[in-house]
């Protein structure tokens, strides 16, 4: 049949290994884990900011102002959170 059966077998094995590595990279649990992280980080910072604003409004009696300011500060904090963890992912 083929001239060099060992070489063909070697090639097939190498191909299999590279395919396996590719699959492993895609299925790496830590990368899925960090992906799960991003969505909640954005939302939770907004929620915390809003709650802080609500508490300030309650104590100082300045009904809509602190909640408005801290809502947007919370949005900014959430975006910084996401950017920071995305930067960590790239490392």
């Amino acid at each position: 049949m083929s001239k060099d059966p060992f070489k063909t077998r070697l090639e097939i094995a190498k191909d299999k290994i590279s395919k396996k590595n590719l699959y492993n990279k895609k299925d790496n649990p830590s990368s899925i884990g960090t992906a799960f992280k991003l969505s909640t980080e954005l939302v939770s910072a907004v929620a915390v900011g809003t709650i802080i604003g609500f508490i300030f409004d309650k104590t100082f009696g300045t009904k809509p102002w602190f909640i408005l300011i801290f809502f947007f500060v919370g949005v900014v904090a959430g975006i910084t959170n996401v950017i920071r963890s995305a930067k960590n992912m790239q490392k």
Partner: protein, 244 residues
């Protein structure tokens, strides 16, 4: 079993009602499953570490593999300085993992699908990490909120943003675990209900869906425990090695 997909999350009392002042501290099904998972961890790791044979049997292998897994995770993310906290992170990871996995058995109760459970865990971590940070660096730990190279005009705004982002850690940590577990279990229940209502003619499609979902849920159960532990490591890393 009830048709409502949310009844699986009901907490009910087992045994007599116990009151401590204004608090109801009766024994519930949630406490039962916490005790079951803690006992399972204790039993498995006791048996696994009893015989130190050179050729490990299955339980010993399980114990050793999980030990090296968590130990590698800590040294990768938080470095050698985090070694003293190994016991805490290991028990945290195992507890969340076993609670999630016990929830995958039919007719059991998933402890981690309740936000109060996950929030208490996250708040505990948050307070602990803050204490560790202040103990290691004193008031220098507050530098975490002041990034270097920021113009003085922007500083008040940046500090407020950093404080909010720091305070949002326990919220995001707890909400992630709780939402994943609850959404997954609800979805499985809903698809299970479709199988019954479509009957033997059309029930095969949702049935195959629920089989696939069960596999996905087992992955999620492991993954969320892993994420919970690895984020604890990351927060611990921030507290131990202050660099900004």
């Amino acid at each position: 079993m009830a048709a409502n997909p949310m009844t699986q999350f009901n907490v009910y009392r087992i045994g007599p009602e116990i009151k401590l002042g204004a608090f109801d501290i009766s024994f519930t099904n949630a406490s039962l499953f916490m005790i079951i998972s803690s006992l399972a961890i204790l039993i498995i790791f006791n048996i696994g570490s009893k015989k130190n044979s050179l050729l490990p049997n299955k339980i010993q292998l399980l114990a050793e593999l999980s030990y090296t897994f968590v130990s590698k995770m800590i040294s990768d993310t938080a470095g050698l300085k985090a070694k003293p906290y190994f016991a805490f992170i290991f028990s945290l990871f195992m507890f969340v993992l076993f609670c999630n996995m016990f929830g995958m058995i039919p007719y059991t109760f998933t402890v981690t699908s309740h936000i109060i459970v996950t929030f208490v865990l996250a708040a505990f971590i948050f307070i602990g990490v803050t204490i560790v940070g202040f103990a290691k660096h004193g008031f220098g730990y507050l530098k975490l909120f002041v990034p270097s190279g920021v113009p003085a005009i922007l500083l008040p705004l940046i500090v407020v943003i950093e404080v909010i982002s720091y305070l949002s850690r326990p919220v995001s940590l707890s909400v992630r675990l709780f939402a994943n577990m609850m959404a997954g279990h609800t979805m499985m229940k809903v698809f299970g209900g479709f199988v019954i209502s479509l009957g033997i003619v059309g029930g095969w499609l949702p049935l195959s869906f629920s089989v696939a979902l069960t596999g996905l849920e087992i992955l999620v159960a492991f993954l969320q425990a892993y994420v919970f532990a690895i984020l604890t490591c990351i927060y611990l890393n921030d507290a131990l090695n202050l660099h900004h």
